[in-house]
């Protein structure tokens, strides 16, 4: 019961001469909302990519629910209930918003062969439409995702991470470019989802108001190393973090 849902041990990754992630270890407990912050280029996104199979780390080990998933492909991880978003916009530009959202859920419905012969939407239209409505994009349901505004694409991106009913979601800057009111909705959504399903979240964010009010624990990364860890209040008053990141 008490095994952490995600445990990262000693992950390291270099690019040429740059040590982007330098032997980072931490654990995330089930049902936690963890914040991951740090200056630009401190290795946050690289860490995500190493955990989720988009990059192969030079060293270290990742376990999800006690299962070693190092080297596992992203699609298999997703099937284990791990969802994510990317820092840069990554919708499918020439597919409609609805198709984007359905795609995010369809691979979890039945076997591959059954999907070929099943309904075209894998029975997901209703759920997808609810999701779209929540993010107030209903009027854009059939619009190509590539022609949405930045913030709207960001929302579609976030919506996709939820479609598969994940147990662990890693969000890379979900707030960037999202209107403050919508952001409040998003935060509510995260909290409610977390409460209802016990879903665990790890959030990278530079919007301090958002992180501090959302997360129960925060890890601070700088130059590939963890330099601080604690509750929002502890982080806010940590001088090292203020110097390196928050500013005066």
């Amino acid at each position: 019961m008490n095994t952490p849902i995600l445990s990262v041990r000693n992950i390291g990754k270099s690019f040429g001469g740059i040590r982007a992630v330098d032997g980072v270890s931490f654990e995330v407990n089930k049902g936690e909302i963890l914040g991951l912050i740090g200056p630009n280029g401190s290795g946050k996104s690289t860490l995500f990519n190493c955990i989720l199979g988009q990059l192969t780390p030079d060293a270290g080990e990742v376990t999800v629910n006690g299962k070693n998933v190092s080297g596992m492909r992203a699609s298999d991880l997703n099937k284990l209930g791990v969802g994510r978003t990317f820092q840069q916009l990554s919708v499918f530009p020439k597919m409609s918003v609805l198709d984007n959202i359905i795609l995010a859920g369809q691979e979890h419905h039945g076997t591959m062969l059954a999907r070929l012969f099943g309904p075209g939407d894998a029975g997901l239209t209703a759920e997808a439409e609810r999701m779209i409505a929540f993010f107030r994009l209903s009027h854009l349901r059939d619009t190509l995702a590539g022609s949405l505004s930045y913030g709207q694409q960001k929302l579609v991106d976030a919506a996709m991470a939820f479609m598969a009913g994940p147990r662990l979601v890693l969000l890379d800057e979900p707030a960037g470019g999202v209107n403050l009111t919508m952001l409040a909705n998003l935060k509510d959504r995260l909290v409610a989802y977390n409460a209802e399903h016990g879903t665990t979240f790890v959030v990278i964010e530079h919007n301090m108001e958002f992180v501090m009010s959302l997360c129960s624990r925060i890890i601070v990364l700088a130059e590939g190393n963890i330099i601080a860890e604690g509750t929002p209040d502890q982080i806010r008053s940590n001088q090292t973090v203020i110097d390196a990141y928050l500013g005066g």
Binding site: S45, N49, Q54, L55, F86
Partner: protein, 292 residues
Amino acid sequence: MSQFLQVLLSGLATGSIYALVAIGFTLVWQAAQTVNFAQGEFVMLPAFFVLACMSILGMPFWAALLAGLILSVVILGVLFKKLMVEPILPHGGITLIIATMALGILLKESVKEFYSAEAQPFPAMFPNDPIDVFGAVLSMQDILNLVLCLGIVVLLTLFLNRTRTGRCMQATAQNPAVAEILGVNVKRMILYTFLINAALAALASYLITPVYLAKFSNGETLGLIAFIAAIVGGFNQIRGALVGGLLIGVLDNLTAAYVTAQYRAALPLVLLIVIILVRPQGIMGTSEGRTV
């Protein structure tokens, strides 16, 4: 031994011609991120401009060469860019690629219909006297091809990477939207690319045709081999075209001489596939960088 040397040296000489054509591919890629499938025909045509100037207008050879160069730059450079590249490029590379295939047919068939279906001899710019190199025979022409090719690679690489105009051309290819916002004259950069490409094609044409003979269908094989050379070299590096071209020239000859003539068109390809699978960015190419 002298057979081996002969095969190797001749392979290098032919390879340098492939390289010269392949440079066009990498140049167009680096400056417009598209592939010109009519490149072979671009090399076939200038020789016919020269022949036409000589036979129809009665120009002397050197004047005809100059006229051919000018015609190439205007038709294969300016007009090609204005009439085809500019309207189609914004709609994506693949459409332009297909359009250039059609252009290839158009050029080929026009030469055939309006000039001649048969091969024509073409005078050499340089003497073709054989030179003995440790028992192998090369011609002055062969050696000049190699030297010229090398020189062009060096010059173009310097131009693209060391001059502001060169970097503007790269910016235009890699991210035209940003280039435009920053005030780069995008249209002009694309024009430069195609002007250089056309001039190079004319040069290649002049060097190749004395050996290959002028024929409307020359572009088919030449374009294809050069395309392969460019890819194998890495496509995003001018010097890659040189390496790719020489490699194919040599591999092709070695295969034919020592392994199998029946499969000489395939064995080098299979070898190159292996190389590509091991080094997906090509031999000299650099990886396009971070994707996530």
